[in-house]
């Protein structure tokens, strides 16, 4: 999503978010992520203005004091930025890609099922199966911190069964242009 992203040409405007909209974004995030209201409050205090950074192709980045915290494509789910996720890694369910897939991920590729189902990869067990279209943290074999944020394109059980094609679409990753812009 941010493989080629230049603020000068890809941002169409920045506006202060109205407090009513801000409230509904907060409650959407609380329902979508596993984050405690007080923790979200500590990162994004209610009295602090949220700024909507409107980008090309219906991407919305939200910043607090200029720092991107989360973003959204159309009216889809909210994704934390990777720096946010590094601070609070437990807020999204995690999947893991094997070491061989890391360099492809860092080039912006989507993650194929075999990289997730192989010995070095990880998918949650059946009783915590993920549905399709779930935002996930992308971990990597042998690494502590997430390498990206993605969205499942099929259920985790399906990934195991079919084991072909894209399992998780990469939405942001280490070193992409969102990562490069710590402030907007």
């Amino acid at each position: 999503m941010f493989k080629k992203f230049q603020p000068s040409s890809d941002i169409s405007g920045q506006t202060q978010v109205k407090s009513s909209v801000s409230r509904s974004i907060r409650s959407a995030i609380l329902s979508q992520w596993k984050i405690e209201p007080e923790t979200l409050e500590s990162v994004w205090p209610k009295k602090e203005g949220l700024v909507h950074v409107k980008c090309r192709e219906h991407i919305s980045i939200y910043t607090v004091s200029g720092i991107p915290l989360f973003f959204q494509h159309f009216d889809g789910p909210f994704y934390p930025t990777l720096r946010f996720l590094h601070k609070y890694p437990y807020i999204l369910p995690a999947v893991k890609v094997d070491r061989g897939a890391i360099r492809f991920l860092l080039a912006g590729a989507h993650m194929m099922c075999p990289g997730l189902t192989s010995a070095g990869g990880y998918l949650p067990p059946a009783d915590q199966a993920l549905a399709a279209e779930t935002p996930v943290a992308l971990l990597a074999e042998g690494k502590e911190h997430a390498v990206g944020v993605g969205i499942t394109k099929m259920g985790s059980e399906e990934m195991r069964k079919i084991n072909k094609g894209v399992g998780v679409e990469t939405v942001t990753y280490l070193g992409d242009d969102l990562w490069e812009h710590e402030k907007l």
Partner: protein, 217 residues
């Protein structure tokens, strides 16, 4: 409102006090963020430096700044176990790729620096009519100066209008109302505010007079 909720919570809490966080008071404390170390060279967490394009420099930095982490990541044992499920052949390919990437990035950085050092900032003083002038500034972006912000800086410094627009060649330039060409040269030389990193030799000033034919009224 807060008070009422608090009271309710306290009432309800005894039976399940152990089920919730026992040590927490009535007002839940936010969880503390994890502190993540980022590489000063490539900005990745150091465990990912091996995938970046400045691996050699990253390692030098880590060895200096965090020797304990350096040995944790790059000791013989660490390199062995890092392989994980990847085959030796795949690891060798990865290392080769990284070296290639590094060489490419170095060459690119060199080229970028050369280009920067040969870029010109052109300041044009344009006569609009006998008394009115505008000043255009072209080429600041080559020195990583944000044009919109620079225009704002000019506007407030000269208390005039300044905007970013495309010149006839389709390139972005800053248009400042008034004759401020030499003031802008001075600002660039003194590196005021955002205007940093333009060598004096790379600045040129051009005067654009109205054509004689057009001027003859």
């Amino acid at each position: 409102m807060g008070k009422k909720q608090k009271e309710k919570k306290e009432e309800a809490s005894p039976p399940e006090a152990t089920a919730v966080e026992p040590s927490e008071g009535p007002v839940p404390e936010p969880r503390q963020p994890k502190t993540v170390l980022y590489c000063a060279v490539c900005s990745f967490p150091p465990e990912y430096c091996e995938f970046g394009s400045r691996f050699t420099k990253c390692k030098e930095w880590l060895n200096d700044a965090h020797p304990d982490l350096f040995s944790q990541y790059y000791s013989e044992d660490a390199l062995q176990s890092k392989l994980g499920t990847m085959t030796l052949a795949a690891q060798q390919k990865l290392e080769k790729d990284t070296a290639k990437k590094e060489a490419k990035a170095d060459a690119k950085a060199d080229a970028a620096l050369k280009k920067k050092m040969s870029s010109q900032v052109t300041i044009k003083r344009i006569e609009r009519n006998k008394r009115k002038h505008v000043t255009t500034v072209h080429g600041l972006e080559a020195f990583s100066i944000d044009l919109k912000k620079a225009a704002k800086q000019f506007a407030s410094k000269f208390a005039t209008g300044a905007s970013v627009s495309k010149n006839p060649q389709g390139l972005d330039e800053i248009v400042v109302q008034g004759d401020v060409a030499y003031e802008i040269v001075e600002m660039l030389e003194e590196e005021v505010g955002l205007l940093k990193g333009v060598p004096a030799d790379n600045i040129e000033v051009i005067e654009e007079k109205k054509k004689k034919a057009a001027a003859a009224e």
